[in-house]
């Protein structure tokens, strides 16, 4: 009977993506602290402006790469 594979950070090829995702998220946090983040009104355009800020964009790319780290 085949044993289910135990996932390990170092046993597969996920770690470059996980590492880059962690680096991007850390960069986003530092960037947000240094630069600050503006909040806009809760309209559709305001939400677009909320997201279209360098630290938020870097964090979104980090989340995207993290989500793409487990799929072949």
């Amino acid at each position: 009977m085949k044993r289910p594979r135990k996932w390990s950070l170092w046993s597969d090829r996920s770690w470059p993506r996980l590492g880059v995702a962690a680096l991007l998220l850390a960069t986003a946090v530092v960037w947000a602290v240094l630069r600050g983040i503006s909040a806009y009104d809760p309209s559709l355009a305001g939400i677009g402006y909320d997201l279209d800020q360098p630290p938020i964009l870097v964090a979104l790319v980090g989340v995207w790469i993290f989500s793409r780290s487990r799929s072949a």
Partner: protein
């Protein structure tokens, strides 16, 4: 219609994030695949074409002729590369030379940055444009070299300069965006 400088900067930040997502997904190895290729996702083709449409939109909003021309050519290049990548990733068109499409598109975009600076060396953001052009040229050349040397193919040589380019685009100050 001329866009305010902050909106131009926002467009640059958005395109920078899109480019960062493209190159990381393309060049970072995926679990279960060999290191040479990234995801081979059709999303890359779509993202290139969306980026091309975004750059091309500058032709409508720019008020400087050389900005209009250069952005028009950038848009064309990205749309053509995106269409070819999409066709390959969908499996409807397979040719060995398609491996060169992405590095050549990157190289072409880098060359256009240099042309942009050469046409208007005193323009605002010239230093940023020069740095970004050189980073794209380095990234494109390194990826072309990687295609030629299969032994180092597992290492995405072009990734550091291309990531630096994307981060420079995301970080471009409002005053330097043009």
């Amino acid at each position: 219609m001329i866009l305010p400088q902050i909106q131009i900067a926002r467009g640059h930040w958005l395109l920078g994030a899109l480019f960062l997502a493209i190159i990381l997904d393309e060049y970072l190895p995926l679990p279960g695949r060999d290191g040479r290729a990234g995801s081979r996702s059709p999303l890359i083709g779509w993202a290139l074409m969306i980026g091309g449409a975004g750059v091309w939109a500058t032709v409508v909003f720019a008020d400087v002729v050389h900005d209009m021309l250069i952005h028009f050519l950038w848009g064309d290049l990205l749309l053509a590369a995106g269409a070819l990548e999409l066709a390959r990733r969908r499996g409807v068109y397979e040719r060995p030379w398609l491996d060169y499409v992405l590095p050549l598109a990157i190289l072409g975009c880098g060359a256009l940055f240099i042309v942009h600076v050469e046409i208007d060396p005193e323009g605002q953001g010239a230093q940023w444009h020069l740095a970004m052009g050189l980073l794209l040229l380095a990234g494109g050349l390194l990826e072309l070299l990687r295609l030629q040397w299969p032994r180092v193919a597992a290492v995405p040589l072009g990734l550091p300069p291309l990531a630096a380019f994307a981060l420079a685009l995301i970080a471009i100050p409002v005053a330097a965006a043009s």
